[in-house]
């Protein structure tokens, strides 16, 4: 409540100054004071009618907005917020990666918020840049931070040579398995080196009845088609930056998915339970119920699901399998922060994000887990890893080194306006092959490309 009072006071001061300077007249002063009295919630409504310029003089408190799941998984954020008194912390209205609100505000030249934490480069970054919602961090990010970012991550967040995203939470796709189940099945307790090993292990689990299902994955394209494709080759993007669904590696990936499905939970293709179907997916439930032995997804998924086991330490992690002659790469992405072009407090925002992303407690909680959750997401900075290498903390589990190592081999999905959309559009189409309605994967994938192209042309 005191945040609101401070806002009003600050705004009143600004308005009074403007009135004295003659920037606004009496009538505007009265109108805007009244609007200010409605509180920040009313600003969203009022700014549509053009009161926005009243706040152009940087006089509202820092207003970051977060994607809901980030707050759920990282309780340390609240502590960092405490270091910035008066901060107006918000949750973003972005279920299912929806950015319409941001786009609409940018069109009107306004922004209710200053910085958005939850941007994944291949998902929203291009769209936000094209719509003029965000601007680069280059003027505000300290140089030592910029240099501290791991090169592949820095490249992921760069468009036209500028940093449009300040990376925060790193996710890499790899393998997780239930060593209890694999032991019971007589399968070696190690990450399968190739996809053939993976399939063999899964089959053995099913045959020995150690578990109903041998392996599972998340059927969304960027969590399945993309990483499997990368494990063969990362040179699968068209000149425009779209994923090349008809490339040899992608077709092999699709065929592999179908093979895995024969030993996976039957509801694997269904949408998830929350966040517009993107989260709470069937693979997660199956893994958490200890009914499937092998699993590949970003590491925080098996980590979170294993918390439901009788013995969570039975979870072992390893790199994604590769194709016999493949590159052996995988997919990574970072969830980071975007700077609103029409927001304010830009220097303050940079300070805040720096504090947030370097906060040691957030990283410890993320790696070790808290009762609120065990995300297993990692930092983007070289210095933090160097620190850990130099003085290894006693709580450091082995998977961190594994992920860090994988990162050097991983590649991000290329940024594109349709970076995420292409997978969303393609999913029902390539699933016709997975469900057996279409017998030729090449035909299915060609249809995917056609559909994506149709959407791209619509503009």
């Amino acid at each position: 409540m005191s945040v609101r009072k401070e806002e009003e006071h600050v705004v009143q001061r600004a308005l009074r100054r403007q009135l004295l300077q003659g920037t606004i007249d009496r009538r505007q002063f009265l109108t805007r004071s009244m609007v200010a009295g409605l509180g920040m919630a009313g600003v969203a409504a009022a700014t549509k009618t053009g009161i926005g310029p009243a706040f152009a003089a940087d006089d509202r408190p820092l207003t970051p907005t977060f994607y809901q799941w980030i707050e759920n998984l990282h309780p340390g954020i609240a502590t960092v917020n405490g270091e910035f008194p008066g901060i107006n912390y918000q949750i973003a209205p972005v279920e299912g990666f929806g950015i319409e609100r941001f786009v609409a505000e940018a069109k009107a030249g306004e922004s209710t918020w200053d910085v958005y934490v939850g941007q994944t480069p291949f998902v929203e970054m291009t769209a936000m840049k094209e719509a003029g919602v965000i601007e680069p961090w280059d003027d505000y990010m300290p140089k030592e931070v910029l240099d501290d970012i791991i090169p592949s991550i820095r490249e992921e967040n760069t468009i036209d040579g500028k940093m449009y995203g300040w990376p925060f939470l790193l996710d890499v796709i790899g393998t997780g398995w239930h060593s209890g189940l694999t032991d019971k099945a007589g399968v070696a307790d190690e990450a399968p080196a190739t996809w053939d090993d993976f399939l063999a292990a899964g089959q053995k689990v099913v045959d020995s009845k150690a578990a109903p299902w041998g392996a599972t994955f998340d059927s969304h394209g960027w969590r399945s088609v993309a990483p499997i494709t990368h494990s063969m080759s990362t040179d699968v993007y068209t000149p425009e930056g779209l994923f090349d669904f008809t490339s040899e590696p992608a077709i092999e990936a699709l065929k592999l998915m179908k093979t895995i499905m024969a030993m996976a939970n039957p509801d694997i293709l269904l949408e998830g339970a929350t966040d517009a179907g993107v989260n709470g997916t069937p693979d997660e439930v199956a893994f958490a119920a200890q009914r499937v032995a092998l699993y590949f997804k970003y590491f925080n998924a098996p980590l979170r699901m294993a918390a439901n086991w009788d013995d969570p330490t039975l979870l072992h992690l390893g790199p994604l399998p590769k194709f016999p002659n493949g590159e052996g790469s995988t997919v990574f992405w970072t969830t980071g922060c975007a700077l609103f072009k029409y927001g304010q407090n830009k220097e303050k925002a940079a300070e805040y994000i720096k504090a947030l992303t370097y906060d040691p407690q957030i990283w410890k909680d993320s790696i070790v887990g808290t009762p609120s959750g065990h995300p297993g997401q990692l930092p983007p900075y070289k210095s933090i890893y160097a620190d850990w290498d130099a003085n290894k903390p006693d709580w450091m589990p082995p998977f961190v080194g594994l992920v860090r190592g994988q990162l050097d081999r991983a590649k991000a999905i290329t940024n594109n306006l349709f970076g995420l959309q292409q997978f969303v559009i393609g999913k029902p189409i390539w699933e016709t092959y997975l469900k057996g309605e279409e017998s030729d994967p090449k035909v299915a994938m060609q249809k995917v490309v056609d559909a994506v192209q149709a959407e791209v042309k619509k503009g």
Partner: protein, 297 residues
């Protein structure tokens, strides 16, 4: 079994020419069996949630009815660890309470007025109220309600929810109270007028006590509706901390982390139990009110 059988009970062991006890009472037994079958179907899901709330985490993922290991810590966990839970509960409580009180008051006033004060045009008002029950008002009007709230600056404002919530069951509340007041003999009201009482006094001292049962019905109906309202809260409020409890529960992250299923179940029990308990105490009045209201309507 029951005292229903008026036929003399025959011991099942004796060989007689009369049909056995089961044979004679078969219709009764079948009747109760069928009813009890449905009772079980109704209760079972709720019992399942209750069990879920005291299961250990691994057991919650197993689907067996009886856990291998009990874990009662979830109830304290949800209050201590889930940051927004007390806030959401508080939001639900005060929005619901305000809605129930205001709606009941409006309905009582309106019902009394329509029946005993008989303003001109009362017929039209009742007709419009009736029609509104059949038209999908809430669904279609959400667009405009959003705009109204936006104009009032009430988007993302919890207290602002009260305004649209009131109208959710307003029409039926008025109609119920109207039925109730129709059971109050008009002569009583007239007598009060002759005695010199004003409209208020008549209402408060004579009218309201006589429609007590109707009040219970209106209370419960509005309470249940306001507590569970999803669409309006989802649309009008973005911030999780400002939402009401049921909406947060519905969006809870797939049963993981702090929202692991036993925790969800614990919250569920906390939210649902008081209502059920209160209802079992008030049920006599509630049924009386329902019967009186429905027979008329």
């Amino acid at each position: 079994m029951t005292q229903e059988a008026t036929i003399p009970l025959s011991p099942p062991l004796a060989r007689r020419h009369e049909p056995s006890w089961f044979g004679k009472n078969r219709p009764v037994i079948v009747r109760h069996a069928v009813i009890i079958f449905f009772m079980i179907i109704i209760i079972l899901p709720l019992v399942w949630v209750l069990m879920m709330s005291v299961k250990s985490l691994p057991d919650s993922m197993r689907g067996d009815f009886w856990p291998r290991q009990f874990d009662f810590t979830h109830y304290s966990f949800v209050f201590e660890r889930i940051r927004t839970l007390p806030i959401n509960l508080f939001n639900s409580i005060y929005v619901t309470t305000a809605t129930v009180l205001i709606t009941t008051a409006c309905a009582v006033l309106a019902g009394f007025s329509l029946v005993h004060l008989r303003p001109r045009g009362a017929g039209i008002v009742v007709a419009v109220l009736l029609v509104s029950l059949y038209f999908p008002v809430r669904v279609v009007s959400i667009i405009s309600i959003y705009q109204t709230q936006n104009w009032l600056g009430l988007i993302n404002n919890t207290a602002g929810l009260i305004l649209p919530y009131i109208t959710l069951q307003l029409a039926i509340s008025i109609l119920i109270m109207r039925s109730m007041f129709q059971l109050v003999p008009h002569e009583l009201i007239e007598a009060a007028k002759i005695d010199g009482a004003g409209a208020w006094r008549t209402l408060l001292t004579i009218g309201v006590p006589m429609v007590r049962n109707g009040l219970v019905v209106v209370f419960i109906v509005n309470f249940v509706t306001a507590w569970g309202e999803y669409l309006l809260c989802l649309t009008l409020i973005d911030d999780e901390a400002k939402r009401t409890m049921p909406v947060v529960l519905a969006a809870a992250q797939g049963g993981q982390g702090q929202w692991a299923w036993p925790n969800l179940a614990a919250v569920y029990v906390i939210v649902v139990m008081p209502g059920i308990i209160a209802f079992t105490f008030a049920q006599k009045l509630f049924f009386k009110g329902l019967m009186e209201g429905m027979v008329k309507g």
